[in-house]
């Protein structure tokens, strides 16, 4: 208030060089910092002093063989399920945008079904598929069979996990891919068609590469999500990371330390995936940012210089505020 009054009192003809820029004060920020500091201290205190966390047990198991095997299987499930999900997602998205009405309906039905039932139910369903179909065979429909196998021996926990996670992911990915395709301006497809490309060439060469910019960030999100959804396969007994940890604590009753072991690994892998996502995004941004980025950078620089308060006479500044 005092500062405000001072400026109104100042005569308009006053010389410019004895004016002082007063940086804005942010008491709210200091309050927030104080609160967070207290909470952080409490958290660290808990982590260090609570003996039930048993950090020695954590370090004992974090690189143990069953846990490392579990990590590898979790990674394997994540990668395979995401590859299946992306492939199905692209196919279903193209299907939904197809001029063929039957295809569009079937694609819609797919994403409705797999998004509409819980992933846990789907995993259990694939695992217990043998209760529905005793045999799976390859042959002519309603005609002779060429090869046949019992579902029980065919559907291992691993295959059930892959089917459950991959088919479910395909439904979510299809929406992401579809939004990416729709984000590419219509003129792009027309330009491709005008030089004589077929619909599929336009899709592959023109639309999808540009749609990737929109598709990649949420796909990174989905991958990180998938990493953790793989832990759901604990219900069908496939020994990935969480299942491996649970098998150990079922034996030793060191529940909390082993859950921390699993959590540490999930966090570490998520960090690596986030870094990978950054580089993939940068790759698909080519052609979109150079000119814009340059001007944005220089504008920032200019802005920063203009906004920096005049350094001289800080004491005067303080006084005029108080």
């Amino acid at each position: 208030m005092a500062g405000h009054a001072a400026t109104t009192e100042a005569p308009a003809a006053e010389r410019d060089d004895d004016l002082v820029v007063v940086p804005a004060r942010h008491p709210g920020r200091w309050l927030a910092v104080a609160c967070i500091a207290v909470l952080a201290a409490m958290a660290v205190h808990l982590l260090v002093t609570n003996s039930r966390l048993q950090w020695s047990v954590v370090w004992q198991y974090v690189f143990s063989k069953p846990i490392l095997t579990g990590v590898l299987r979790t990674l394997e499930l994540t990668v395979i399920a995401m590859v299946i999900g992306v492939v199905i997602g692209i196919l279903v998205a193209i299907g939904r945008l197809s001029p063929n009405p039957v295809l569009a309906k079937v694609a819609w039905l797919y994403s409705w079904f797999f998004r509409g039932t819980p992933l846990l139910v789907q995993l259990l369903f694939w695992f217990y598929l043998s209760a529905l179909l005793t045999h799976v065979s390859i042959g002519i429909p309603f005609g002779p069979e060429f090869a046949s196998a019992s579902t029980n021996s065919l559907i291992t926990p691993f295959l059930a996990a892959i089917l459950g996670l991959g088919l479910n992911e395909g439904a979510y990915m299809s929406e992401i891919v579809r939004s990416g395709i729709l984000a590419v301006p219509r003129g792009q497809a027309e330009a491709g068609q005008a030089i004589g490309m077929t619909r599929s060439e336009v899709m592959r060469r023109v639309v999808l590469p540009q749609a990737m910019r929109v598709i990649i960030p949420p796909t990174g999100n989905e991958t990180i999500g998938m990493l953790k959804y793989t832990s759901l396969v604990i219900v069908i007994g496939y020994a990935e990371l969480l299942t491996s940890a649970s098998l150990i604590y079922a034996r030793t009753f060191q529940t909390i330390p082993l859950l921390i072991v699993a959590a540490l690994w999930y966090l570490a892998i998520t960090a690596v995936l986030s870094i990978a996502q950054y580089y993939v995004e940068r790759h698909f941004d080519r052609g979109f940012q150079p000119a814009a980025a340059k001007s944005r950078g220089s504008r920032l620089l200019r802005g920063e210089r203009a906004l920096r308060p005049a350094p001289e006479q800080p004491t005067v500044a303080m006084r005029s505020v108080s």
């Binding site: 027309e190 490309m197 590469p209």
Partner: protein, 251 residues
């Protein structure tokens, strides 16, 4: 070279083309003028199968547009056949529509590489030559976002030429440009016309039409109101609609 006979086209209940007939001979430049919403762009897009017309017939280079004739039957064309026909017609859009994820050179090579399965290495020379022809030899490795509107449109023209089209369609090629960039694009088009390219140009550039066109067509409300030598149609319009339009554009 090009003939349209009684073309009709509706979007829903709105009839945007109400019986358009037009002939363009080989090497001729036809300018299509008229107020916005008169159906010029729709007509142009029909030629390249970007829109389907409801009635009438069109021929490009002796081939029926949209159909394949066998005996007394007209078979609707499939995607692949349409793409094949389009590859012989070049099109330049109002918004350029360059592929933003490819450099100028890659934009020019995209058509021959994908559609004609040409080897990029063998194309390089011709692609550079096309860029030189539109005055952009030094911009080959620039992305569209690094080029001005006029430069982008010239790359778009080079991209269309790379397919060796028999007919070039221009859909208001200078309407999205800053005024000082219009000239460089018109210069390229002027060169093209002088080189004997058959061109159909939808434009608001009366000066260009007067100077370069062999025939000027004035279109309003989905019909050709007036056609003839540019000097006649633009200099001494017979129809009320044409006079109205010209007085507004030239004002």
């Amino acid at each position: 070279m090009f003939e349209a006979r009684d073309i009709h086209k509706s979007f829903g209940h709105v009839e945007v083309l109400r019986g358009v007939s037009m002939t363009v001979r080989r090497g001729e430049v036809a300018c299509l003028l008229g107020p916005s919403g008169s159906g010029k762009s729709t007509f142009l897009r029909c030629i390249n199968h970007l829109e389907k017309f409801d009635a009438g017939r069109m021929w490009v280079d002796g081939e029926l547009v949209g159909y394949r004739q066998s005996g007394r039957r007209l078979h609707e064309l499939h995607d692949r056949e349409i793409a094949q026909r389009r590859s012989r017609i070049g099109m330049v859009f109002q918004q350029f529509n360059l592929f933003p994820h490819r450099t100028a050179l890659q934009n020019v090579m995209e058509g021959p590489v994908v559609v004609k399965r040409a080897k990029p290495r063998e194309l390089m020379e011709e692609a550079h030559q096309l860029l030189r022809r539109v005055g952009l030899a030094d911009k080959a490795h620039h992305y569209p976002s690094q080029l001005s509107g006029g430069q982008q449109q010239r790359v778009a023209i080079a991209r269309a030429l790379a397919m060796h089209p028999a007919l070039m369609l221009f859909d208001e090629p200078t309407s999205a440009l800053d005024p000082e960039l219009v000239g460089e694009v018109l210069d390229v088009m002027r060169d093209l016309a002088a080189g004997g390219m058959t061109m159909i140009v939808v434009t608001h550039e009366i000066g260009f039409a007067r100077e370069v066109a062999d025939v000027a067509h004035f279109m309003a409300d989905g019909v050709l109101v007036e056609s003839g030598l540019p000097a006649e149609v633009l200099g001494n319009p017979q129809h009320e609609r044409t006079r109205n339009f010209l007085s507004k554009v030239l004002a």
